[in-house]
Amino acid sequence: MKKLLSAIKNLVVGLFTTGKHLGRHAVTVQYPTEKWTMPERSRGIVVLLSDKETGELNCTVCMLCMRACPTAAIDIQYDKDEKGKRILKDFVVDHGLCCFCGLCEEACNFAALKMATKYEFSTLNKEDLVWHTDKLQEVGRDVPYEKPERKKPEAKAAAKPAVKAEAPTEPPKDTATAETAVNPGKPSEELKPLTEENKENPGEGN
């Protein structure tokens, strides 16, 4: 009998718990008409960033993003001018392959590409997910970003010949190996850090 009463009591408690929620406001949003504001760090589609004044791409065709990509979603095609400097021919991102890990963004030292907070890009065709330079640049026009301070003409000029001198004609994969063949266990100072943010806000929010 006692068991029965406690059973009934607990059923009623359950009913009241759901009843309590009946009058509360919904926690969901009506998606297409009402949208969530994405956090600043949210990783959506990959876009190419352009210089705010000149409108030119920030990309220097250093190929770091392409190498960082775990799914080979980025494909960069380039020409070389007479000095051996790379000129971007086509920057292709296959968003169908992209796994949105953000490694390309972290690999980039020139704020050339970013994972924007945009996310609505579904298509009916798989081919339409392959974006080329012009579309990537167009979508990335209004994406805010901070230019890294190190991006100066002198620094670029200084960095570039070093790479070129090492292996001007070889594929980029080997240049990086040659450049950074140091003791792997130790963190090395002169190498590019994987993230820019590490430097900018250490200990923030503490």
Binding site: G14, T18, G19, H21, L22, A26, V27, T28, Q30
Partner: protein
């Protein structure tokens, strides 16, 4: 605001046109059937929407919002969609059985409304065995579920059909015993007389201590089981049997099952109102408004159950019915009988 008068007036008009009595009866009953059917169609559509809204609000969602004000057109749109869908019959199905199952479910669900009094005088036919008729008719639903389960030639569907047969048969017994205690008190099987016997609020059978509330709770539990709703929704237990008996149904046939389910729920609530909550009786408002208010309140309780409780297992379901509900309802019937024939409680 009493609309029973309108019908009486129309009936008299029809009778005075000089038609023979047989024709007058045929016409008036057909019209009444059509009105009840239309009314129930609207009610079922409304209940589907209401259930979705209640579940949404309990779960802090919005539910349907796009079609009309708070999505009130949603069910109509869904129905239109289901009508357009291809009607698939599995290759190995038992065709006639598969075909007739939703129709039986549909018809059985609507036939109960012949003897339900929607208001003072608003009853299609006041049979003197009204409640017995309803019990007999609602049991028809099992046959349709069994037919659907068998005809689909699908193991999940068959399991669902078997479960529903076992479940409805076992819950029929305590339900009838609970109803019997009311009948015992009212001294009549006629629905109208049962309602008239609870004219004052203290005469409602739910307030007749001690047997009333117990009978009501037994009725509610058994009714939930009869209409296959959580926590007794085993025939269509999604997580075990995918969709149970209606797993192979699509399009309009599925819609008919769906419709029948909600009409059945309304039936359970309507009978509960009639037997325990004084039917159409109530002050100030017209009788049919009272009836609807009470019935919808009961429907809300059923929905509330559904969105709160987990589901019982099939053997526990049987145990609960035969080992708990049945003895309690027998004891309750004895108490009711004793109360009826002792002078003190018989108000």
């Amino acid at each position: 605001m009493e609309i029973a008068g309108i019908f009486k007036y129309l009936y008299e008009k029809l009778a005075s046109t000089g038609l023979s009595q047989a024709w007058v009866d045929i016409i008036s009953y057909s019209v009444a059937a059509l009105i009840v059917f239309g009314f129930l169609a609207v009610v079922a559509l409304f209940l589907v929407w209401w259930e979705r809204k209640i579940s949404a609000h309990i779960q802090q969602r919005f539910g349907p919002m796009r079609t009309g004000w708070h999505g009130w057109l949603q069910t109509i749109v869904d129905m239109l969609k289901l009508i357009q869908k291809e009607d698939i019959t599995p290759a190995t199905a038992d065709r006639p059985v598969f075909y007739w199952a939703p129709i039986v479910a549909f018809v059985a669900a609507f036939m109960a409304y012949v003897t339900i009094p929607f208001g003072a005088g608003l009853i299609v036919s006041d049979l003197n065995i009204g409640i017995l008729y309803i019990i007999a008719i609602t049991t028809f639903t099992i046959i349709s579920l069994l037919m659907a389960g068998w005809g689909s030639n699908n193991k999940y569907a068959l399991l669902g059909g078997m479960r529903s047969a076992a479940q409805v048969v076992s819950y029929e017994v305590p339900m009838v015993l609970a109803i019997l205690s009311v009948v015992l008190f009212a001294g009549s099987l006629s629905m109208v007389q049962i309602v008239e016997s609870q004219a004052k609020i203290y005469q409602w059978y739910i307030f007749r201590l001690p047997f009333g509330p117990i009978a009501f709770i037994i009725y509610l539990i058994a009714g939930t089981a009869e209409s296959n709703r959580t926590p007794f929704d085993l025939p269509e237990a999604e997580q075990e049997l995918v969709a149970g008996f209606n797993v192979e149904y699509s399009g309009m046939k599925f819609a008919m099952f769906f419709f029948a389910e909600f009409v059945n729920m309304f039936t359970i609530a309507a009978i509960g109102t009639t037997l325990f909550l004084g039917g159409w009786q109530g002050p100030w408002l017209p009788s049919w408004v009272w009836f609807m208010l009470k019935t919808l309140a009961l429907v809300f309780v059923l929905m509330w159950f559904r969105w709160t409780f987990p589901r019982l297992r099939v053997d526990q379901l049987m145990e609960f019915s035969w080992k708990f509900l049945l003895p309690v309802s027998f004891a309750n019937l004895i108490i009711a009988g004793w109360m009826k024939y002792s002078k003190w409680f018989n108000w």
